[in-house]
């Protein structure tokens, strides 16, 4: 699996006796758009938390471009190029939309820590352009001076994505990017994700099956913390075990 950009072997996360994730052997190639789906409680968000460094695994290893990153802390993973957009839009509510992205761009530019006690970040012109680019990508440039906390839910989620993008990631983890969005916003986000998928590897957790089936290169199905199946959308759609796992056997529409 030498061309896998992100890979896990035997990855697991136990809380006491409860195994949120176990035995996950996962790999994704550079440039892929991989969906991670599964019924509620399957452990999808836990999996993303392990990948992003939000949580530490109890078993297994994680590799990024061949290097072991299992115990690398969250901020350093971002530096390496793994960025995450959160399930509940996690932004700086009191800052403007632009400043939200600027902060992420600043992190990309200055690194984990800078003891620059005297000069302001205004002097770093790359930061502004990086932030601007991210906003353009998610089509929020028009709202750049709005206070982030005042945005609509859908716009906040897109801002969260923009913030992740401003760190110039190689892999983008999107946790339920269209949850709670109107139909129109879902379409917009669909186009956005397709666009992003052309420039970077994208992993997406979602319940919206129409969206998933439409845009994914491949799908990994989690069930009860383990991988149940993996394959192209067509293969997954036809997989009876996957249908069983989702009670009632729908794989179309939103589960």
């Amino acid at each position: 699996m030498s061309d896998a950009i992100l890979q896990t072997t035997g990855l697991g996360k136990r809380f006491g006796h409860f195994a949120a994730n176990s035995d996950i052997d996962f790999s994704v190639r550079e440039g892929e758009l991989r969906a991670v789906i599964g019924p509620n409680g399957a452990g999808k968000t836990t999996f993303f938390n392990l990948l992003s460094g939000f949580a530490q695994p109890t078993d297994g290893e994680i590799f990024f471009k061949g290097e072991k990153i299992t115990h690398v802390a969250g901020p350093r993973r971002v530096v390496r190029g793994i960025a995450k957009a959160f399930q509940t839009a996690n932004i700086y509510p009191d800052e403007t939309v632009f400043q939200n992205c600027r902060l992420a761009a600043l992190a990309r530019t200055q690194g984990l820590f800078s003891l620059q006690l005297f000069r302001s970040s205004q002097r770093l012109t790359d930061v502004d352009s990086l932030a601007g680019e991210a906003l353009e990508l998610v089509d929020l440039a028009a709202l750049k001076d709005v206070r982030a906390g005042d945005l609509s839910h859908g716009d906040k989620k897109r801002l969260d994505i923009a913030v992740a993008l401003a760190t110039r990631p190689q892999i983008l983890l999107l946790d339920e990017p269209v949850a709670g969005m109107s139909i129109e916003e879902v379409h917009k986000t669909d186009r956005l994700i397709r666009g992003l998928a052309k420039r970077m590897t994208v992993l997406i957790i979602e319940h919206d099956m129409d969206l998933i089936m439409g845009i994914s290169d491949s799908i990994t199905v989690l069930h009860q913390g383990k991988i149940l199946a993996s394959g192209t959308p067509a293969e997954i759609r036809g997989n009876s075990r996957v249908q069983e796992a989702y009670l009632g056997g729908h794989t179309e529409g939103t589960v």
Partner: protein, 355 residues
């Protein structure tokens, strides 16, 4: 506000301060004391207002700074007492303390952080209290005059006074010692430094971490290092405050390291205005004025202080100066009081990880 205007107005204010308080019962010595302590409050504000960390242990930096400065003169270098050396050793030692302790405390949040800083402060208190050979224990160090301030071409005895000049209701210029001028200059530098820091790249990221630590972590900042830096700078400022206090008062006692002293910094800063530049100075000035002037009139002054403190937290979380801010007064306190349940990362992790 433009830099030049800022420095000009601040300098003017500092020059006028000892005289302006004269008609209301103040005196230049009080002005000096206020400025000295306020340096420590500004340090505390850096932690609470800008880094969002409530430390109940600043007294350890204050007290140790004072002891080190005085011991430098009386014990470490008794034959060559040097003012700058005393300050240097005081602040330097405290800075090392802050780095060591900071590395441990910044792993914690909320009440646990506050309690750990308190635990360390208590440890230092008891060490100072019991180590009689070094610190004279309960009696403290006394009667250690500050050597003259050497400026290369000349040296100034800070206890000297300015020439006489009657200023009517504002007192006399000769009431003012050179000490005040020296401390005022240091205060100007401290204010300038703090102002610059807040607007700097470091300050910007620190504020981002305070506003949303989780997000900051996952855009690639290392919150722990930022908090450690803030803790160290705050400690150094508080140590400077303590060193100056020791040298000014020519004495120091273990009460400089008590929980009460730590609490004083909290009170001064919150009342004056958390997350404002001058808030700590205003708060320190107001309360110390009350302590020194009102206390002569009534025994209830500390009760008034307590009531004022509670009133500020409940009704005016931005403090006295915070309510004048033109921008939305989203100080850490206002946010804490207005916001919902706390959202430290591990709680959120527990939530996100739940199926």
């Amino acid at each position: 506000m433009k830099d030049a205007r800022f420095y000009g107005l601040t300098a003017l204010g500092l020059v006028l301060f000892p005289f302006l308080i004269h008609p209301i019962g103040g005196y230049p010595g009080l002005a000096t004391q206020i400025l000295i302590v306020a340096i420590g409050s500004i340090g505390f504000n850096l932690l609470l207002g800008y880094a969002g960390l409530l430390s109940y242990g600043q007294s350890m930096f204050y007290g140790v700074g004072g002891y080190m400065a005085l011991l430098t003169i009386s014990k470490f270098f008794p034959d060559h007492p040097n003012f700058w050396l005393a300050i240097l050793l005081g602040v330097g030692f405290v800075t090392l303390m802050a780095v060591a302790i900071g590395a441990l405390v910044v792993r914690l949040y909320g009440i646990y952080f506050a309690l750990l800083t308190l635990a360390f402060a208590q440890m230092f208190f008891f060490v100072v209290f019991k180590w009689r050979d070094l610190t004279q224990g309960d009696d403290g160090l006394q009667g250690i005059s500050a050597p003259p301030l050497s400026l290369g071409f000349t040296s100034i005895d800070l206890t000297g006074t300015f020439p006489s000049l009657d200023l009517g209701p504002f007192g006399n210029l000769s009431d003012v010692h050179y000490w005040y001028a020296f401390v005022a200059l240091i205060m100007l530098l401290v204010l300038a430094f703090t102002r610059t820091l807040i607007r700097s790249q470091f300050g910007e990221v620190l504020g981002a971490i305070r506003e949303n630590e989780e997000r900051s972590t996952f855009v690639g900042f290392d919150p722990r290092r930022y908090k450690l830096a803030a803790f160290t700078i705050a400690g150094a400022l508080t140590g400077l405050s303590g060193a100056l206090r020791g040298l000014y008062e020519t004495s120091i006692a273990p009460d400089a390291l008590t929980v009460g002293t730590s609490g004083d910094f909290v009170i001064y800063t919150v009342i004056g205005g958390v997350k404002t530049l001058f808030g700590p100075l205003v708060g320190t000035g107001l309360i110390m004025y009350m302590q020194n002037v009102i206390s002569a009139k009534t025994d209830a002054w500390r009760l008034i202080e307590g009531l004022l403190f509670v009133a500020v937290i409940v009704f005016l979380p931005g403090g006295i100066l915070g309510s004048f801010k033109r921008k939305r007064a989203r100080t850490i306190l206002a946010a804490a009081v207005a916001a919902g349940p706390p959202d430290a990362p591990s709680r959120a992790a527990a939530r996100e990880a739940a199926p």
